[in-house]
Symmetry: C2
Subunit: 345 residues, 2 copies
DNA sequence: ATTTAGCACTCAACACCTTAGAGTGCTAAC
DNA sequence: GTTAGCACTCTAAGGTGTTGAGTGCTAAAT
């Protein structure tokens, strides 16, 4: 457990905030002058030496100023920084951008991601609501060709998804319509996770039908509900990272961008459940090596107590944490509000 | 009209090929030694001076070697380079990667784009078949909620698209099914471009129906058929460009990457009709300023004489043209073959 | 017992110079 | 028409000196 006296805390704060905004190591003189803490550079130097001993800051080289370490950022985020609400003006612009795009939840999430990346100028990732937690609102089978049927699935949040179902004989539109009605009768209102072959069996018995569509449909639903393939991921503002001197080394930038291309990594990056809070992962706290120099801020959005998906920001460890976190708080709440209104099951 | 004697052509060839592979300006000694043209460096120097006068090559500075100009590349591409087929091995791997992914044309195109970017190590763009040129194979209306109906549209190449249709009253599934059947009857086989309100009127008269769905559906089809919004664009291998020293300047790389984020620019970049050929646009020949230092190689794919979409490669002007063009030729043919087999209208 | 001023010391960054070498254009000989 | 030779040019790389920011330590001041 780290205990800092008030003065050291203020010095650490000054160092973090100055470094975040300038990108240059911060010297004792700068702290004394710019942050009017009412003490001399020499005093600050002494405290800095202590802070360094504690591992909160370090020097790139002997005659340079100090730079916060990952631990220093952690201390700053946990105990020092002060969050502030977005300006009302900004809040309004963001709200505006979200409302005018309400045609589809996936599009909404994509837009949220876009807004995040724009107003933080970092990279943003988001995953659309996972199927597995949704309830079926409506489904319908549409004939495609002699061995394919399209399953159109509408879930409670209004998302529409298409799945191709392979079948072994051709079915007439009328028959498929009848089956659709039957399925709607039985399935609608059920969570996707509860659809299984047992259910199919029951229906088959009850209606004495032998046709093969039923199992195939249930199969596809089960498969798609669980498969990570069917999770929609949005990535916005990837080129933003090139603004930061941390990535002026092209090979580093490339490594980063290539990592972002891997869907699965992104999904696992986000899928730390964050309950009701915004979660911050700093530098070396990251599991992925590619992100040792980056920080990730994530949040989840919910309907009631059902986790729907996550949103996140990725940027250099030298990140404006207060701002990013405030921004994420705001958007998380905003998103939850919008979703609460949509969900008329 | 530019006429080069055989020797000058071979010198230009050597310069282009050496520069493409090394990225360094090419000197007379290098040409003489590495490309055994059987003449001395001095002779080559004389010819190089001529080539420079013709604007085909130029010197970055007095005591440097020569670098091809855009015009030089053009001459090389048009009259000098020799295309060679892909190795059978490579052809097989590519064919493999395409076949195992046949579930959906859009996915196929995306995969093609992916393959292109991988085997050229440049960035690849592709547009999926445009709706406007497709014929309707099947359509069906699915109820969503009290003022929305989903239009599921299946076109002749097997692509399935969903469109939300706003309506002003709630319709029963049975009614929508009946309308779907009617629409199928009237529309299926028709090119999307031919659907219009006249057609809707005719149907309404014939069936004496007054319900409002029909117009709305026709409206949505017309709108989506023409809107550039509904063109699907795929972009693969964006981070590849960071491999080239041309983009080791981060701000240049950023500019490039940001340009790629704009769908519309990409679409217009590709939508030069290229008939039966692969088209090469070199450096300053590009309309977009952002691409003055890049070359773009595009090709189209067709079913019969209907243009479906385009595929393209974007890379630095210092590009291995012969290889890229061969690769594109191959994939264009491959794609056309696959599509020919799919299209059982 | 802190805090502060003063001072010697360190080190990266920058400017400046020198050198090496790659490449040229020109001329005169082949 | 081609080539060898040579003087010339210019960049890239390495070396040197200077500057200034920043430190740590010590001794005086509070």
């Amino acid at each position: 457990m780290m205990i800092l006296d008030d003065r050291k805390r203020r010095i650490l704060q000054a160092i973090v905030e100055d470094f975040v905004s300038t990108g240059e190591p911060v010297g004792s003189r700068t702290v004394a002058k710019k942050y009017s803490l009412g003490m001399s550079a020499a005093t600050i130097r002494n405290d800095m030496a202590d802070l360094e001993e504690m591992g909160l800051i370090h020097q790139p080289h002997t005659s340079a100023g100090r730079v916060p370490s990952d631990l220093g950022y952690r201390e700053y985020v946990d105990k020092i920084m002060k969050l502030s609400n977005l300006s009302t003006e900004e809040a309004l612009t963001i709200r505006d951008k979200l409302v005018c795009r309400l045609k589809d939840i996936s599009q909404l999430i994509k837009q949220v991601s876009n807004v995040i990346s724009q107003s933080t100028s970092y990279t943003s990732v988001a995953v659309a609501p996972r199927l597995i937690n949704s309830k079926i609102r409506h489904l319908q089978l549409v004939p495609i060709d002699k061995n394919k049927v399209l399953l159109v699935l509408v879930v409670n949040d209004g998302t529409v998804r298409n799945f191709m179902v392979k079948v072994n004989k051709e079915f007439s539109p009328d028959f498929l319509f009848a089956v659709s009605n039957l399925l709607n009768d039985k399935f609608s209102g059920l969570p996707l996770g509860e659809i299984d072959q047992g259910l199919a069996e029951k229906i088959k018995k009850e209606y004495l039908t032998q046709e093969g569509v039923l199992e195939q449909v249930v199969d596809v639903i089960r498969q798609k509900a669980y498969s990570p393939e069917s999770v929609e991921v949005f990535l916005e503002g990837t080129s933003n990272i090139l603004n930061f001197p941390e990535f002026s080394d092209v090979s580093r930038a490339k490594e980063f961008l290539e990592f972002l291309d891997e869907r699965n990594s992104l999904i696992s990056l986000l899928s730390t459940e964050t309950n009701d809070e915004v979660k911050v992962t700093i530098g070396s706290e990251n599991t992925f090596d590619e992100f040792k120099g980056c920080s990730v801020v994530t949040a989840s959005y919910w309907i009631g107590d059902k986790l729907l998906g996550n949103i996140g920001v990725i940027g250099p460890t030298r990140m404006n944490y207060a701002r990013v976190i405030s921004c994420m708080e705001f958007l998380r709440k905003e998103l939850n509000d919008i979703l609460r209104n949509i969900d008329h099951e």
